[in-house]
C-alpha cells in the first residue's frame, strides 16, 4: 500500500485540517467534530443542507460546502458512515430556524446513522427533513433488497437543492426539489483497479491485468460482475444502455451529464467517455444542457468512472445553472 499519509488512524482528522487550511474563505471546522460547515453558518433565512458519509470520496462532501450547495458535510471514517452524534452536531450548527435537509446516500449505515441524528435534532425542536439518493442502476432486482445505492448523482442533488435553499424556499420546497432530482437521476460505474482503505492496508479486491469490475459502488465494494476490459466506446455504451433502460428519455428531453472519475482515472480518459456519452445522447435526440467531467465523487485511488444522467425540467435546469461558490464547484 503506497499512500501519501502519516498514519491510517489520522487521515480523516488531518485531511479535515488540510481542507480548512486550504479554503478558509469557504469553510470552517466545527471544533471537536469531524464536521465542516460554511464559514458563515448558520445562514439566516435559509434552509440548511447537511450531507456526508464515509471519507475517501473527496471532493465529496466537504468540497461542496459553500454558497449554493451544502451548509455542512460530516466526515465518517474512510468508507464508513459518520456516527449520529457528529451528524447531530452538524444539524445544530447550521440550522437557522428554517430547518435542515439531510441528503443521505442509500446505504444501510448512512440511513440509520442520519436517522438517529434526525431524531436527536427533532427532540431539540429542529425541523429536519431527509432525502435518500439512490441513483445507481447497477443493482437490478433492487426491489427486494435495500434498494439502489446512492453514488455520484448525489452531486446534482447537492447542487440543485442547494440552489433552491439559496432562494429562501422553505424546507418542504427544498425537500421536494431534491426528491425530484433523485427521481430523475441515474448512474452507473465501472472500475479498472481496486482501492485500499488506509486502515485495511490492502485492496478490497484484485483484478487481473485485463479485467474490470462493472456496476460497483463507491466504497471499493465489488460490482455486479467482471468482464474483460473493452474499448471506452463499448464500455460507455454498455453503461449508458443500463442507465437509459431505467431513465427512459424521449427525443427532445434535456439532461445534465456527469462523467465522474473515481480517483485515478486521467481526465483524458473521462473526456473520451464524455465523447461517447454525447454521441449516444445526440443519436437519441436528447439535448445536453450541462456537462460535468472530473472527480466529483471518488473512491480513494480507484481507477474507473461513473456516468450520471439527470433529466431536467424548467425548475431543475434553472437551479442547476444558478450560481454556486464552493471549494470544488464554482459557477458564476
Amino acid at each position: 500500500m503506497k499512500k501519501v499519509i502519516n498514519a491510517p488512524e489520522q487521515v480523516v482528522e488531518e485531511m479535515l485540517q488540510g481542507i480548512v487550511l486550504a479554503h478558509p474563505q469557504y469553510v470552517r471546522r466545527l471544533e471537536g467534530f469531524d464536521v465542516i460547515v460554511r464559514t458563515n453558518a448558520p445562514v439566516a433565512g435559509k434552509v440548511a443542507l447537511v450531507s456526508g458519509g464515509g471519507s475517501g470520496h473527496e471532493p465529496s462532501h466537504g468540497g461542496f460546502v459553500g454558497k449554493g450547495m451544502l451548509d455542512s458535510a460530516v466526515a465518517g471514517a474512510v468508507f464508513t458512515s459518520p456516527t449520529p452524534d457528529q451528524v447531530y452536531e452538524a444539524i445544530k450548527a447550521v440550522d437557522s430556524g428554517k430547518g435542515v435537509l439531510l441528503v443521505i446516500k442509500n446505504y444501510t449505515g448512512d440511513v440509520m446513522n442520519f436517522d438517529m441524528a434526525a431524531e436527536m435534532a427533532e427532540a431539540d425542536g429542529i425541523k429536519v427533513a431527509k432525502v435518500i439518493v439512490n441513483d445507481d442502476v447497477a443493482v437490478e432486482n433492487s426491489t427486494w433488497t435495500t434498494g439502489r445505492r446512492g453514488i455520484a448523482g448525489t452531486v446534482f442533488v447537492h447542487k440543485i437543492a442547494g440552489a433552491k435553499a439559496e432562494t429562501g424556499a422553505d424546507l418542504e420546497a427544498v425537500q421536494q426539489v431534491a426528491e425530484k432530482v433523485i427521481a430523475n437521476v441515474r448512474s452507473m460505474g465501472m472500475a479498472l483497479t481496486p482501492c485500499t482503505v488506509p486502515a485495511a492496508g490492502k485492496p478490497g479486491f484484485t483484478l487481473a491485468e485485463n479485467e474490470v469490475e462493472i456496476g460497483l459502488g463507491i466504497h471499493g465494494e465489488p460490482g455486479t460482475h467482471r468482464e474483460e476490459l473493452r474499448s471506452v466506446d463499448e464500455t460507455t455504451a454498455h453503461l449508458m444502455e443500463k442507465i437509459l433502460a431505467d431513465l427512459k428519455l424521449a427525443s427532445g428531453d434535456e439532461v445534465a451529464v456527469l462523467v465522474n472519475g473515481l480517483g485515478a482515472t486521467p481526465l483524458m480518459e473521462l473526456y473520451l467517455v464524455n465523447r461517447k456519452v454525447h454521441q449516444i445522447l445526440s443519436d437519441a435526440s436528447v439535448k445536453v444542457a450541462k456537462t460535468l467531467v472530473g472527480n466529483y465523487m471518488t473512491s480513494l485511488e480507484m481507477a474507473g468512472f461513473s456516468i450520471s444522467l439527470l433529466k431536467l425540467d424548467a425548475e431543475t435546469k434553472e437551479l442547476l445553472f444558478a450560481a454556486a461558490d464552493t471549494p470544488a464547484f464554482v459557477q458564476a
Binding site: 468508507f79 464508513t80 457528529q86 444501510t108 446513522n113 433488497t145 490492502k202 478490497g204 459502488g217 465494494e221
Partner: protein, 213 residues
C-alpha cells in the same frame, strides 16, 4: 457485579479487537472492507470507557455506556445496530443485579429486537441476525431444558456458528452485500461473524468464571 460486568465486556471487546483483520477481510469480499476496523475502533473506545467507569456503575449503566460508545465511534451499519442492541440491553437490564440465565435471556431478547427495529431485516437476509437469532433461540431452548448457563451459552454458540455457515449459502438482501446479488453466495457474513465472536467471548468468560471463581 460491576467489575464482573466490566470483565465480561472487556472479554467481548478483546475478542473483537483480536479479530479485526478477519472481520475486515470478510467485509472486503462482500462489502467495503471496514467491518473489523469499525468494530475494533468502537470496542477500543468501549474498553477505555468501561475501565474508567465509576465503581458504582451498575450493569445497565455499563451496557448503556457501551451502547452509546459504539453508536458514536463505530459508524457504518454495524455501529447503529450493535449500539442500539446495547442500548436496549441496558434498558432491559435496569434494576438487574446479577447476570443469571433469566436476566441474560431478557437482555438478549431486547438487544435482538433492537437490531430488528433499527435494521428492519429478518433472518435469512445474510446479516448478523442469522447468527444472533438462532443463537438466542437455542439459548432459550437450552435454558428451558434446564441446562446450565454455560451449557446454554455453548449451545447458543454452536447455533451461531451454524448461522455463519448458513450465511454462506444465501444471497444477501440487506446491507451492502445485497448489491452483489448472486456474487454474495459462498461468502460468510461479517456481521454474523462478529456476533458469533462476541458470543463466543462471553461463553468462554462465563466458562472460566465457573472454573476459576
Amino acid at each position: 457485579m460491576s467489575s464482573f460486568t466490566v470483565a465480561a465486556l472487556e472479554a467481548v471487546a478483546d475478542r473483537i479487537i483480536q479479530h479485526k483483520e478477519l472481520l475486515t477481510s470478510l467485509d472486503a469480499a462482500i462489502g467495503d472492507a471496514d467491518h473489523g476496523i469499525n468494530m475494533a475502533r468502537g470496542f477500543e473506545a468501549v474498553r477505555v470507557k468501561i475501565r474508567a467507569a465509576a465503581p458504582e456503575t451498575d450493569i445497565s449503566g455499563l451496557l448503556k455506556m457501551t451502547g452509546m460508545t459504539l453508536i458514536s465511534t463505530v459508524g457504518g451499519a454495524s455501529g447503529p445496530l450493535y449500539g442500539t442492541a446495547f442500548m436496549r440491553a441496558a434498558a432491559a437490564a435496569q434494576g438487574k443485579e446479577t447476570l443469571d440465565q433469566e436476566a441474560i435471556a431478557q437482555i438478549w431478547s431486547a438487544a435482538l429486537q433492537g437490531i430488528k427495529d433499527r435494521g428492519k431485516a429478518s433472518r435469512g437476509e445474510k446479516t448478523m441476525l442469522d447468527a444472533m437469532e438462532p443463537a438466542y433461540e437455542a439459548f432459550v431452548e437450552a435454558a428451558k431444558a434446564e441446562k446450565s448457563l454455560v451449557e446454554s451459552l455453548e449451545v447458543a454458540c454452536e447455533a451461531a456458528k451454524e448461522g455463519i455457515e448458513f450465511t454462506k449459502t444465501i444471497i444477501a438482501t440487506k446491507g451492502r452485500a445485497s448489491y452483489l446479488g448472486e456474487r454474495s453466495l459462498g461468502h460468510q457474513d461479517p456481521g454474523a461473524t462478529s456476533s458469533y465472536l462476541m458470543l463466543a467471548a462471553l461463553t468462554e468468560f462465563f466458562h472460566n468464571q465457573q472454573l476459576g471463581a
